[in-house]
Symmetry: C2
């Protein structure tokens, strides 16, 4: 019997705290303000940004979308990030992907003031995380940890496998798990035998961007699976990296998509904005 | 038959390149200059710093040791690192450990200009490394890679295990191996069954600071073992983290201590100083 680890209730709890804090800050004349920089015409990205904006406003956080268009140059994007970093009325900055082909995300993200880097995109934030110094973790990677903690999954000494090694999810998730005393393995497209690593894992975090990558054959009865995948189907629906039907009934527990890591990630972006605005 | 992978010849080759470059730079009036900040009375540290100074001078690099004494405050250390960062005549800065108990290495290292951070100690350097952006890697972690490359150990798709998760060696070594397409597992003192991870590994990097930690029981016939340990014995001799006698004859290959990772590390610190002085 596989337990489904919903993120919706966890996210609701976080948003309640955010709403209370936003009210208090606004009463003090410090309305929390999140800015999202967009440079794409991609429709699913626009929908995602709208959902962040909606969630922010519901919690009493102002959300500005700075749409630079799909032809924005790196110089233009960087100067916008610098302006927002310098603006005392802005507390959180998100650089939304995808970017124009000529722009490099990690290079541009280094222009985000670490104090406002609510999605932990600046390489400095990642380095601080690795050194266990105060920094905002990428919200998706932190959402994985929040979910595991909420459902009381033991991490110290556990065997954790992260599938995917992106700078935004895989690497920071591995560092966060390592900071919590898990033994951590990072697998990716060059891994020769994925099942050999995942079958005996206590925790498997899948963040590869590949629908159906993890199946029931990859997991054991004690494995807790966290699905970070957010793949948009042709009909606009969202599916994860895990073949839910085949893992359900085999693994010990599994986060759904949608309704798992996603809502917690959005709630954490808002919580980080509150943290920044409260300083 | 276990192959012993000596670092001495590799280091000699690197130093030859450094010497030629230092001569050229000095002829142009830009004598390369490495500064080592020390804040301890520890005798083995003093010996290590003397050996760096000697190696630097032999290659034509000026080496200044700034000894702040074992009672130096964090403020004093930070201001020295800032002064050296601002000094155009200094090209490389090393913050030597151990530091006084009140001082935090990672926090202080963030005061080192990344352009002069020849031992990759600034958390920003680590973050840039994780994001695959240009930065100096910690010399010890890079020395592991240089040795593996020199002896043509295949890394893409290989199973690599790093034992130890320090900010200076374990984590950066894991990131460098990951950047080279190895499947990477990081083990540490909380790992429940070390042998289960190392027995089938193609590469094991041991950086735990614990003599005799890895034995013949932990490795297979195809395992290449890199010993990063530099433990000083009561008689002043240096031993690694690997029980050499027991691994010798079992593993495919093994780096010795001394004469393995150590000399390559020192040579890379000098090479990084040349890179910085050449800009």
């Amino acid at each position: 019997m596989t337990r489904v680890l919903s993120g919706s209730a966890v996210a609701k709890e976080i948003r309640a705290g955010v709403t209370a804090a936003a009210e208090r800050l606004s009463a003090e004349g410090r309305e929390p303000h999140l800015a999202v920089v967009v440079a794409t015409a991609d429709e699913s990205t626009a929908a995602y940004v709208r959902s962040i904006g909606g969630a922010a406003r519901k919690c009493g956080i102002r959300c500005s979308v700075v749409d630079l268009g799909p032809d924005a140059t790196s110089i233009r994007i960087r100067s916008e990030l610098e302006a927002l970093s310098a603006d005392p009325a802005v507390h959180g900055i998100i650089l939304q992907t995808p970017l124009p082909p000529s722009a490099d995300f990690d290079t541009l993200a280094s222009a985000i003031d670490p104090a406002k880097d609510v999605d932990g995109a600046n390489p400095l934030s990642l380095g601080l995380l690795a050194a266990r110094l105060p920094a905002f973790a990428p919200a998706t990677a932190e959402a994985v940890m929040v979910l595991l903690d909420h459902y009381e999954v033991p991490l110290s000494g556990a065997n954790a496998v992260v599938v995917g090694r992106s700078t935004v999810v895989g690497k920071p998730a591995a560092l966060l798990l390592l900071n919590r005393d898990a033994t951590v393995s990072v697998c990716h497209r060059r891994t020769t035998d994925l099942a050999a690593h995942t079958l005996n894992a206590d925790v498997v975090v899948v963040a590869a961007g590949q629908p159906g990558l993890l199946t029931g054959k990859h997991v054991g009865a004690n494995t807790v699976v966290v699905d970070v995948g957010t793949n948009v189907e042709a009909d606009g629906s969202l599916i994860g990296d895990v073949d839910f039907a085949s893992v359900d009934g085999v693994a010990a527990a599994l986060t759904p998509v949608p309704g798992g890591v996603g809502p917690v990630t959005t709630a954490l972006l808002l919580q980080h904005t509150i943290t920044s605005a409260s300083r």
